[in-house]
Symmetry: C2
Subunit: 221 residues, 2 copies
């Protein structure tokens, strides 16, 4: 019976995927890349590590076929191979949130920021946004907005928010979102809006979570 050898082989292959997602930085890479392609340096900056280390981690992710690279001039741009990868990230995070108390505690600390309202649910938000009852703003860099964004959302990157406050219709509540539950940009945006007297709430979901729920996206590529 050589069944054991074969089994070992099979599980080892799956474990390659597991190994790829066993490092915090690689997971962060997957989340950032789920928003659209990025160069090695952009990734290194976004995750606060050296370019060399980023390159090494990307090599690992590439070996597991979770990401792929494309050279354009001097830069190599990486992206997740397909939406299934982003889905796995969403699932892993959900799994972790559900069972790791430490993570729940950290999340709590994160969302306990001033001037924040309760987060809203998916379809309800969609309907309100369509009617114009709420203003949905995407505070990620504009390039990520262009790759895919929530329906009826307008792009106002966090860095420009202060200067572009005038674009936001007065008297309407604002919902801000960014890359997902672990991203801090929407939280900052809500804080800023609240300070200016604008009613604002944070949507925890990013496009990956939105897609994983089967909800529609705009400009999706």
């Amino acid at each position: 019976m050589n069944g054991r050898k074969l089994k070992n082989l099979l599980y080892e292959q799956v474990a390659r995927i597991g190994k790829a997602v066993s490092s915090p930085k690689r997971l962060e890479f997957i989340e950032v890349l789920s928003q659209g392609e990025k160069s090695v340096e952009q990734l290194a900056v976004a995750t606060d590590i050296s370019v060399k280390l980023a390159s090494a981690h990307l090599k690992g992710l590439k070996a597991a076929r979770l990401v792929e690279g494309r050279r354009e001039g001097k830069n190599v741009y990486y992206r997740v191979v397909d939406a299934q990868v982003a889905e796995m990230w969403v699932m892993l995070r959900a799994l972790a949130e559900g069972r790791l108390l430490e993570l729940q505690a950290a999340m709590k600390e994160m969302v306990s920021h001033p001037g924040e309202l309760a987060p809203m649910g998916g379809k309800e938000l969609l309907a309100q946004a369509k009617r114009g009852d709420v203003i949905v703003i995407d505070v990620r860099p504009e390039i990520e907005y262009q790759t895919a964004h929530l329906p009826h959302a307008r792009s106002i990157p966090l860095a420009e928010l202060k200067a572009r406050l005038g674009e936001i219709p007065k008297g309407k509540p604002v919902v801000a979102y960014c890359r997902g539950p672990f991203c801090l940009m929407a939280i900052e945006a809500v804080g800023l809006l609240a300070k200016k007297g604008i009613k604002a709430a944070r949507l925890e979901d990013g496009v990956a979570e939105w897609r994983a729920r089967g909800l529609p996206l705009a400009n999706d590529r």
Copy 2:
């Protein structure tokens, strides 16, 4: 800005789940435990490692809250914490199958056994089984059958199949299933049946895959 520290913390927590599924043996544990609870020794035997090593791996899985143990007399029985864990296993395997050529090759070798028919699809099989047009047999140990099994399936453990051939209605095609795509029992069963002149096919899915597809199960706890 202490956002970086917080982020590191968050991703580290998720990576704990990743680490837990980065070892072939631990993945195999999850698959076996998805069929129902097992003692440490049973797991060690099933995966062909020492009891000590099995215990160590279980410790890791327990730390990530993927499994939990229950002492009953001299034995400690482990089980997956909830169905979400089994779902993750199904997803990881699907992900791996989709992108790792080595795994596809290994799978091919595995299913290239004599006397096998093409696998069938879910709802179609359900309907045929209900009408009695096909006989569905569950060749796992009976205890696993009792925990959950496919609708209209009867339990004939692989070890007893030879002696219980008489229970199978003549003239009808048989579909055998076991723990899932990586499990060899159904393949062996099909080989044995074919040798006896009984038309038999293997269903790749196990209960975890079946459940992940949203299809109904019998006796599900």
